[in-house]
Amino acid sequence: MATQPSVLSGFIGRHRNAVLGGAAVALFFAAWQAIFLVVPFNPLFITKPSLIAAGLLDLVESGDLFHDLAVSAVPFFLGLFGAVVIGVPVGMVMGRRVRIGYALDPLMTVFYASPLVALAPLLVIFFGVGLPGKTIIVFSLAVFPFVFNACAGVRAVDHLLVNVVRSLGGRERDVYLKILLPSVLPYIIAGARIAVGRALIGVLVGEFFAASEGIGYAITRFADIFAVDRMFACILTVMVIAIALTEGIRWAERTAFPWRFGQ
């Protein structure tokens, strides 16, 4: 029994950052729950963690949550996949070919910096509700981080390595495949972290505008019927997924490129 506190403090010592972060989150929800002991509670406009948990359990048990998530996952991953396949090569060529880079840079910057979600209604008119429209919205938001990061990665490449390949008889194709692509991979992963967040926005906005299923649709539907607890259950689920994806990518970054961190 006497060793119990030291085991606990040892655990806290080793995971201090995680413990601090977790404690803050727990405190936030506790405060949220507690504030309605003094503030009058009206379930039409506001909710509290206990009700959200009940709503979440309800959605999980009925299977609605998983159905909506599965529907939203399709345009999310299709759009992201398209963004990588198109964005990375475009960015790499922009980085390698100086004139192409200068020509496309202003255009790309305009699209990247502007709130493309404003175009969502137009995209829905063009491509319809449902999968194509949502995929296009996700793609158009997610592609630019890949373009810019791939471009920056190529520009930052160690030119000595390019010379090594050329001096050993490598052609331009070899420079792309053997030097540029491996050099930009860390940049692409970093871009993916940004793109994932934008892709989530894309899915939600797409489903807000016009959809009959999906997690974004569920959020608006629950809001329309004043089911604030279930609306928050959906929002929190999306948040957790966003964190899981971003942290997963962060972890992949550290394990996949030991030469960048192991020095």
Binding site: G169, D174, K178, W259
Partner: protein, 256 residues
């Protein structure tokens, strides 16, 4: 006998955008015999490395020409390979796969690549480090990989651009002796660029002193020291005599 490498009146200027051109080489002439170990010493920025890059085929001279075996150099070729000062190892490749790079670019079959890499890993003394990544190696070991990679495509000419300048003094001394041992076994024509007169004398059959920029060949010294060379040779009167002679030719070119 005609020289193996012949540089005739090589002129080259760099033209950075919006700035005045810099003349790097000005009527550079040199002749290297087959199997010879020739060092080029000169002040910083005199165009030593530029000349190596011309021989390598990465830079084209404005006028003049460089011939190897009577053929004009038009670009990189498998008869030449470079060992770079900053190693130039691909950080995402293991020692073995770094060494195989040139063979891969020549589309050599995988079994042949493996066999050549294995032999060279033994030659440069890296047995047991095949699967290590560059960031796990010391500077001296990195340059052993750089040397093995250059030897892998079996070039006739080995170009070495201050290969030991990034190493500490003791490692550099060891690597010089290692290089002589490897050179004895591999028998290549070597063009070696360095700042260090000691290093140049210890390694070379001949030492060429370059002028300050725009660089041209100032004076060549034959190093009539017997081979194989031992470390003790560096403290003999003959060695120091040569060192003084070369220093006297070099010092006027150095601006402080």
């Amino acid at each position: 006998m005609a020289a193996y490498i012949q540089a005739r009146n090589v002129n080259l200027s760099f033209r950075p955008a919006n700035r005045t051109p810099v003349r790097a080489l000005d009527g550079f002439d040199i002749e290297v015999q087959e199997g010879e170990f020739l060092s080029i010493v000169g002040p910083s920025g005199c165009g030593k490395s530029t000349f190596l890059n011309v021989v390598l085929g990465l830079l084209k001279p404005d006028s003049g020409e460089v011939l190897i075996h009577g053929n004009k150099i038009a670009g990189p070729g498998s008869d030449r390979a470079m060992v770079f000062q900053e190693f130039g190892l691909l950080p995402w490749r293991t020692v073995q796969h770094n060494i195989e790079l040139g063979l891969e670019l020549k589309r050599a079959p995988s079994a042949k690549r493996g066999a050549i890499a294995e032999r060279l890993i033994g030659l440069v003394g890296l047995t047991g480090f095949e699967s290590h990544y560059p960031h796990e190696l010391s500077g001296g070991m990195k340059q052993r990989v750089g040397l093995a990679r250059a030897l892998a495509t079996d070039p006739d000419v080995l170009l070495m651009d201050e290969p030991f300048a990034a190493l500490d003094a003791q490692t550099r001394d060891l690597m010089q002796t290692e290089l002589l041992r490897i050179w004895r076994e591999a028998r290549k024509t070597v063009l070696f660029v360095t700042h260090q007169i000691d290093e140049a004398i210890y390694l070379s059959d001949r030492v060429m002193v370059m002028s300050k920029r725009p660089g041209h060949a100032k004076k060549a010294f034959t190093i009539a020291l017997p081979r194989p060379r031992e470390y003790e040779m560096r403290v003999t009167p003959k060695f120091n005599e040569l060192k003084l002679e070369i220093w006297n030719a070099l010092k006027d070119e150095i601006a402080v």
